[in-house]
Amino acid sequence: MNSSVITFPGSNCDRDMDVALKKFGFKNKMVWHDDLELPKSDLVVLPGGFSYGDYLRCGSMASKSKIMKSILNFAQGGGKVMGICNGFQILVESGLLPGVLLRNKYLEFICKNVFVKVNNKDNSFFKDVKKDIYEFHIAHNEGNYFCSNNQIKEINDNNQIALFYSDENGNVNKKSNPNGSLQNIAGIYNKQKNVLGMMPHPERMIDPALSGEDGSIFFENLINNLK
């Protein structure tokens, strides 16, 4: 399985993602944002970080970079694209995913472990996954998912919510919502379910000595689904 991780100026989770993908069997290539063409890929990952210093709006500049044209074509042809944290912000700014990520409700940069509950498993990212509730790490200032009333209706009608913020027992409520996200949304798919954006970082949970193993479960399952 071939994967590509895009590095934008200001990306800082690109190498972590590279390590994670390789650990679970992907042949990964790092791709510079100014390149025009994607290498042959089964998965393209937009990593976390602070592309372009979060100028104007998070992800807005990166969403217009040269490589994004190839990524839009790749996604429109059914290619699997995953955006983590800033990558999620880039995906909504590019129009591949609906909505927007606003400043966290209580204006704090949030850096902590959270629990997320998988909502829709009927896609390549979470199909047959062993667990429903994952402990992942979040680190963001703008993760407060928001969209219009019409958009949220469409998102629910098409079962596009990938992950909810929950507690460790899977209860999705106000208390388990760290940043004010609409309906506790932590991650969403596009309509076709080949594009996933999420705020939590699974690549930070691949080593029991450092953090945890819930990311390992996610990546192992992901590569099996893409085979």
């Binding site: 104007l56 709006r57 807005s60 217009k64 700014e93 609906p98 909505g99 927007v100 606003l102 400043r103 966290n104 409700k105 209580y106 204006l107 407060n144 928001f146 969209c147 219009s148 958009q151 004010g180």
Partner: protein, 80 residues
């Protein structure tokens, strides 16, 4: 030609920064404020000398980059 654009958050979008500014102003004694909403202001100096064309270009810039129409409105407020 210089064109100014103002970008504001749509009505139903939460503006926590505006809220904090409101609270601070309130604490400073400006206690008759109903609401504060924070926005953005741009000055674009363009080589285009035709007013209409320049405004059309800036309109396109707003739609494509300067504003996110999910949460923001924009208005070209001055051309000189």
């Amino acid at each position: 030609m210089k064109i100014s654009v103002i970008i504001t958050l749509k009505k139903d979008v939460l503006d926590p920064q505006g809220k904090v500014i409101h609270q601070t102003l309130d604490g400073m004694g400006f206690d008759d404020i109903n609401e504060v909403r924070q926005g953005k202001y741009f000055e674009i100096d363009t080589k285009e000398n035709d007013k209409k064309k320049a405004q059309e270009k800036v309109d396109e810039m707003c739609k494509k980059l300067l504003a996110n129409l999910v949460i923001e409105n924009y208005k070209i407020i001055e051309t000189q």
